[in-house]
């Protein structure tokens, strides 16, 4: 069909396609995600004040970082909570999700389609709706949780207002939210295992636990590892639920880094200081991601070498 067109024209057109098809993505990334990183870095050296709707910039060097590392307490309480949050929720999600997937894989379950539909519910409804729901369920006076406790003659609990319980309550909501996702990933992983390999291996072990320990777990390890890393990194994103359930309180009981950044930027109008916080958080998490990818790649290479 191109007999009328000279080859040179085709080559030029093909080059034009390469540029035109990649340019929009590149422009979006550069302008709205690459530039913001530089912008934050730049802003973090300034003290920004808002006067009559206009911003006034004063260069203050490293003072924002000095303040963040030496004087700040709330942000670092948030860092601690975020780490506790990530480790706890991911552990619980993995154990629960994997156990349920194993049970369903071995014994089957009735009504798989309906079950999957129900399990997808927390994954696809807006996180803010999940926050709203649990705020109502955990509400002190009219909440479902306390109504149930009263039925059984137990004392009501201030789920979100008691500093000793609040973080656990928020973690519970996140575990509730993401365990179904881990379950679906694990079930897909288990179902893609080679039945023949499993059957052959079964001849060498006795009992269910041995089989899980010596056959299923080793075979599933790559999937488990990827899921853990994926979930840990995503749990650093937690914001919507915290915003709605507790806003970081009471005190700093449920403070997380994302909420610190939000508060500094948007409630205290400290643009320069908020930028410094963003930059530190951004680079810390980017480093974690790159290291985690390195570990994964190394494992994969080691396996291929075997």
């Amino acid at each position: 069909m191109n007999t009328m067109i000279k080859p040179g024209v085709v080559i030029r057109r093909n080059k034009r396609w390469l540029v035109l098809s990649l340019a929009p993505v590149a422009v979006f990334f550069l302008v709205l995600s690459g530039f913001p990183v530089l912008n934050l870095l730049g802003l973090s050296f300034f003290d920004v004040e808002w006067r009559e709707g206009a911003a006034e910039f004063n260069y203050i060097g490293l003072e924002n970082y000095h303040r963040l590392f030496l004087e700040e307490t709330i942000y670092w309480a948030g860092v601690r909570n975020t780490l506790v949050f990530a480790v706890t929720v991911v552990t619980c999600q993995m154990v629960l999700g994997f156990s349920m997937a194993l049970a369903v894989k071995r014994a089957g379950s009735v009504g798989r389609t309906i079950l999957t539909g129900i399990f997808l519910l927390p994954i696809v409804i807006p996180p803010i709706v999940i926050g709203t729901m649990w705020r109502l369920v955990m509400g002190r006076e009219f909440g479902l949780a306390n109504t149930l406790l009263r039925w059984f003659g137990l004392n009501e609990v201030d789920w979100l207002g008691n500093p000793d319980i609040a973080l656990a309550s928020v973690m519970f909501v996140d575990i509730w939210h993401w365990t179904p996702f881990v379950f679906l990933l694990m079930l897909a992983g288990l179902e893609s295992l080679d039945e023949e390999v499993l059957d052959a291996a079964r001849l060498d072990v006795t009992g269910f636990w041995q089989e899980v320990r010596h056959i299923v777990l080793p075979l599933m390890l790559p999937t488990i590892l990827i899921t853990v890393i994926f979930r840990v990194i995503l749990s650093f994103k937690v914001f919507d639920e915290v915003y709605l359930l507790t806003s970081g309180g009471p005190g700093t009981a449920t403070e997380v880094v994302n909420f610190s950044i939000y508060r500094t930027f948007f409630r205290q109008d400290q643009v320069g200081y908020g930028s410094a916080m963003s930059v530190v958080t951004l680079f810390a998490i980017a480093l974690t991601i790159i290291l985690a990818r390195g570990v994964l790649a190394r494992r994969r290479n080691a396996e291929e070498a075997e």
Binding site: F29, S33, I123, V124, P126, L184, L185, F239
Partner: protein, 276 residues
């Protein structure tokens, strides 16, 4: 052996259906409030008269903006999803099926991977400053374009997985017939990934519709989306439980439709997005 097998089956079902009940129970409890009078919600009456008044108040009362918030959400989600799908599909074809120099390919894919995993909250401050600086803060343009960049990595990886799944021979044959790159895209790749595009569209629509952090910081009262409005309800001093539940119910309608119609799509899309 059969006894053990049966008991195992019962245990497995109790476990997963128990979890399903834990998902459904609080959800249905909250949603049922949408059909109750405030007095029945507060007293915890189990069998109470059904009312539509919460929906009427929420959607048609003069003080309520919620209908407008829903329309804003729909407009933002439809526009940003359309842009993401168009540019992600073209780029995914080029990156997945054509020879692209490494210094172009790896920065795009590497940054997409990294950017997707970084917390949105570390970027919102900068987006706020940037859009304000050019006087576009609070406009639809700012929210839509920010949603585009936010969901672009997901769109790119989803479409890339669909593009890579196409058989190699078709493209070889098309090249032999003298197809140019753009002809290969329009006549070969595009018709074959249409199913994948629908799956990606559904997922990205849901992500944009659900977004809270970006909409919270970039919208004005006129462009406010439903999730931001719901969060405002929840933080009022005198919480209007019934209307809040009604708003919650309306805002999960797209998700419910998606589960009913495209369950396979979501599972496939989520798995493709997760294992990358």
């Amino acid at each position: 052996m059969t006894l053990r097998r049966t008991s195992g089956r019962v245990a497995a079902n109790v476990l997963v259906w128990g979890y399903a009940a834990m998902i459904l129970l609080p959800t249905l409890w909250v949603l049922s409030n949408a059909f109750k009078y405030k007095i029945d919600i507060i007293t915890g009456a189990t069998l109470s008269p059904v009312t539509w008044s919460n929906f009427e108040q929420l959607l048609f009362s003069r003080q309520s903006q919620f209908l407008w918030n829903l329309l804003n959400s729909a407009f933002v989600a439809v526009s940003s999803t359309a842009i993401v799908i168009v540019i992600a599909t073209m780029a995914a074809f080029t990156l997945g099926r054509l020879r692209v120099p490494g210094w172009v390919r790896w920065p795009i894919l590497g940054w997409a991977l990294l950017f997707q995993m970084l917390p949105t909250l570390t970027f919102v401050g900068s987006w706020y400053v940037m859009w304000s600086a050019i006087g576009l803060h609070g406009t639809y343009i700012s929210v839509i374009l920010t949603h585009v960049v936010h969901n672009l990595p997901m769109g790119l990886f989803l479409m890339l997985s669909f593009m890579s799944a196409l058989p190699h021979e078709i493209f070889q044959a098309a090249r032999m017939d003298g197809c140019s790159n753009s002809q290969m895209f329009w006549r070969v790749a595009f018709p074959l990934v249409r199913g994948g595009m629908i799956a990606a569209t559904a997922l990205i629509f849901i992500f944009s519709w659900s977004d809270f952090a970006i909409a919270l910081t970039l919208t004005s009262p006129a462009t406010m989306t439903a999730p931001v409005a719901i969060a405002t309800f929840a933080q009022e001093y005198d919480i209007r439980y019934g209307e809040m539940a009604a708003g919650t119910l309306l805002s999960i309608v797209p998700a419910l439709i998606l589960i009913l119609v495209g369950q396979r799509f979501i599972v496939r899309g989520l798995l493709a997005g997760a294992v990358k």
